[in-house]
């Protein structure tokens, strides 16, 4: 009988990731120390302004407040916001990875869809109303879905490995973005749209990206765990041939997976347009590595058949906490790529080790069953 104190991760594999996040948070809170930050207050005009305090001589000076370098509302919100772009894309790419595919073009889809939305909204300028913003959002997501669909059509239609197709589209989509923009950065969006994405939900904490990330995680989780189509995604990743023979329309499910991957890149691009206020063909360069790393750290197996939306989000959070932790503790920036790479390799090795353990357990169980059958029937049985 298992002890009530033993953590059982078999029924909740993401539990281990949550433990890692909590432990990382505790370590960063302890080793990050304290910082002194300008104290702000709401002025008579309703805007935030510097708080002043009088010193011993009666002179007014700007006031400061001491906070823990990691564990404070602004830093936690910032980590959540910075994670959200990658986490949203990681949910989409997890679905692709579960089918034993890969999508190297997510960064380029992010850029091209952002450019598409930017070009649309730029025509109306900052005074364009909410409907211009809605149009911009729709254009962004539509471009992303088209890119994802093209990826899927080529992969299933030509029967070429997704690595090759998405390696090519990674260059094509970014090239299209460059030709469309002529290398310029495009801004000048409806102010309503910018204000909506950047609005302070609690005080001046900008939480819209975090809320969108949570919504995408919930929808992705329902898709994978509660819908028949989600079970088909896992089945294909587990054994594509068996799935085909059992009547699953493998090509259609794979196509859907790449469309979703594109779609999540589009959602991330919408948030980026609102938060950063501009788009260019250079956006998202190298993001595919971080997004794939987040998915793999979150438990998705590059061999297929394994992964979850929640795991993708938690994996992205862990990577962002490591990146922020490097800054907080004061390790030189140049080490951040090394650390990310080591974390990704470690996650993949742990995944392979886990598979090896599962295979050996299955083998042991099979041998045990074979022995029982032989004893019961007194007939040799070979089990392949």
């Amino acid at each position: 009988m298992s002890s009530p104190l033993r953590l059982n991760f078999s029924k909740f594999p993401e539990g281990g990731l949550i433990v890692v996040i909590v432990v990382l948070g505790i370590l960063l809170s302890i080793f990050g120390g304290e910082v002194q930050r300008p104290k702000m207050m709401v002025g008579p005009d309703g805007h935030l302004t510097r708080a002043m305090e009088k010193d011993a001589s009666g002179e007014e000076n700007p006031a400061f407040v001491k906070v823990n370098n990691f564990f404070n509302a602004e830093t936690l919100t910032q980590i959540a916001k910075d994670t959200s772009f990658f986490a949203i894309m990681a949910v989409g790419i997890t679905i692709v990875i579960i089918t034993a595919g890969i999508d190297l073009s997510v960064g380029s889809v992010y850029a091209l869809s952002a450019v598409g939305g930017a070009m649309f909204m730029n025509q109306f300028g900052s005074s364009g109303g909410p409907w211009c913003a809605v149009g911009g959002v729709l254009v962004t997501i539509l471009v992303a879905l088209i890119c994802g669909a093209l990826n899927g059509i080529m992969i299933v239609g030509f029967n070429v490995h997704p690595f090759i197709i998405t390696l090519g589209t990674m260059a094509i989509y970014r090239g299209i973005a460059f030709v469309l923009t002529n290398g310029q950065s495009i801004g000048g969006f409806p102010q309503d749209f910018r204000d909506f994405v950047r609005q302070g939900v609690i005080g001046d904490l900008s939480l819209v990206p975090l809320i969108v990330m949570i919504l995408v995680c919930i929808v992705g989780g329902i898709f994978l765990a509660r819908m028949a189509i989600g079970r088909k995604v896992y089945a294909i990743g587990g054994n594509e041939t068996a799935s085909r023979y059992s009547g699953i329309r493998v090509a259609r499910v794979k196509l859907l997976a790449y469309i979703i991957s594109g779609g999540t890149a589009g959602i991330a691009a919408v948030l980026a347009l609102g938060y950063y206020g501009a788009a260019s063909s250079g956006d998202g360069q190298g993001y595919e590595l971080t997004v794939i790393a987040g998915a793999v750290v979150g438990g998705a197996s590059l061999f297929g058949g394994k992964g979850s939306a929640l795991g993708a989000v938690l994996g992205a959070i862990i990577l962002q906490m490591i990146a922020t932790g490097i800054v907080i503790i004061g390790i030189p920036q140049s080490y951040s790529q090394i650390v990310t790479g080591v974390v990704v390799i470690t996650a993949v090795l742990l995944d392979q080790f886990n598979r090896w353990i599962s295979d050996r357990r299955l083998l042991a169980q099979t041998a045990h069953i074979k022995k029982e059958v032989v004893q019961a029937t007194d007939t040799p049985v070979s089990v392949n």
């Binding site: 910082v35 002194q36 930050r37 300008p38 702000m40 935030l48 510097r50 700007p62 400061f64 370098n69 404070n72 602004e74 830093t75 910032q78 910075d82 772009f85 460059f178 002529n182 290398g183 310029q184 950065s185 495009i186 801004g187 910018r194 950047r198 980026a272 950063y276 206020g277 501009a278 260019s280 063909s281 250079g282 956006d283 360069q285 190298g286 922020t324 800054v327 907080i328 030189p332 920036q333 140049s334 951040s336 790529q337």
Partner: protein
């Protein structure tokens, strides 16, 4: 007796501690350059650190430089760095903008939260930054083309090497090159060639263009990226005229061997020193710079003065 000595010593120690506490005010200035891959920003870092040491000694304070430059150019990462610096309580921030559009809001938020911001090299002119120290980029482009036209005798085919297509400072330099080129009817601009701002990518771009367009007789390089590699220019010295911006040590060999005719040196070390000066004046004395644009002059380096100029780099680059 022992009690008196102990009391005296304790008082002295306490006084020293109190004195050092009172005098040792700390300022943390964050520097967010475009990328760690570009050596010009390493000179800026050295300048910032040297100026921080100098001001610390002069004023009895502790000035720290927090270098938050992304490894590769990424304006989103620059925004994150600015936000992190504000959250970490930085006393001031200096930034060279990869994309002014994206960085304007982050700079404005930092300023609204009481953190002064200055720009260097590449400005965000619509932001609330205090000032920009750097090259007048249009003027820089003018000078590149004027020098190149002189070297080419006013005729030929020119290719422009322009780095990151999104960088506003580089776009202005290209504009400046094209404006002056119009004054020379016998000079034709072939095209503007962009590339990732690493020496290898830049050198590969030059080689590809020369193979595809052997008619090119002049290169207007608005940054010196390919010259940080050996053997980047595969043509015989002098057969193709080259004028480039920046004159770091790795580039000077090309002047000496005649592959490059003129290097226009930006004040890359002063990007760091001036930024720290302006931030310290604001943070400590609440003084604004005299102007919102502080111009850094370009120094033409040729074969004649290259050795004299080269001595400066012993001071300007990070000590190993």
């Amino acid at each position: 007796m022992i009690k008196k000595v102990t009391l005296t010593v304790t008082s002295l120690v306490g006084l020293l501690a109190a004195t050092s506490f009172a005098a040792e005010k700390t300022y943390v200035f964050g520097i967010v350059a475009k990328s760690n891959n570009n050596p010009v920003f390493q000179a800026a870092k050295t300048g910032a650190e040297d100026e921080a040491k100098k001001l610390s000694q002069e004023h009895g304070v502790n000035i720290k430089i927090d270098w938050r430059t992304p490894n590769e150019e990424d304006p989103q990462k620059q925004v994150q760095a600015i936000e992190q610096l504000v959250n970490a309580g930085a006393s001031g921030i200096a930034v060279s903008c990869s994309d002014a559009n994206k960085l304007t809001d982050a700079i404005n938020t930092a300023v609204d939260k009481g953190v002064p911001v200055v720009c260097f090299d590449s400005d965000a002119p619509k932001s609330k930054r205090l000032a920009d120290f750097g090259t007048d980029d249009i003027d820089c482009g003018h000078k590149v083309m004027e020098q190149l036209a002189k070297e080419m005798g006013g005729k030929g085919v020119v290719a422009i090497l322009a780095g990151n297509q999104n960088a506003p400072n580089l776009q202005k330099r290209v504009q400046g090159v094209k404006e002056v080129a119009k004054n020379y009817p016998d000079i034709k601009i072939l095209d503007t060639f962009y590339h990732k701002e690493t020496p290898q990518d830049a050198a590969a771009e030059v080689e590809q263009v020369m193979q595809a367009h052997p008619e090119v007789t002049g290169w207007a390089m608005v940054g010196g990226w390919p010259l940080f590699t050996d053997n980047a220019l595969k043509f015989a010295p002098g057969t193709v005229k080259v004028v480039a911006v920046d004159a770091l040590p790795a580039e000077l060999g090309y002047l000496r061997d005649g592959h490059v005719q003129v290097l226009l040196a930006q004040q890359v070390y002063e990007w760091g020193t001036k930024s720290v000066d302006m931030l310290y004046d604001k943070a400590a004395d609440h003084k604004n710079p005299p102007s919102s644009f502080v111009k850094g002059d370009l120094i033409p380096i040729t074969k004649d003065n290259v050795d004299e100029f080269a001595k400066n780099w012993e001071k300007w680059l990070p000590k190993k």
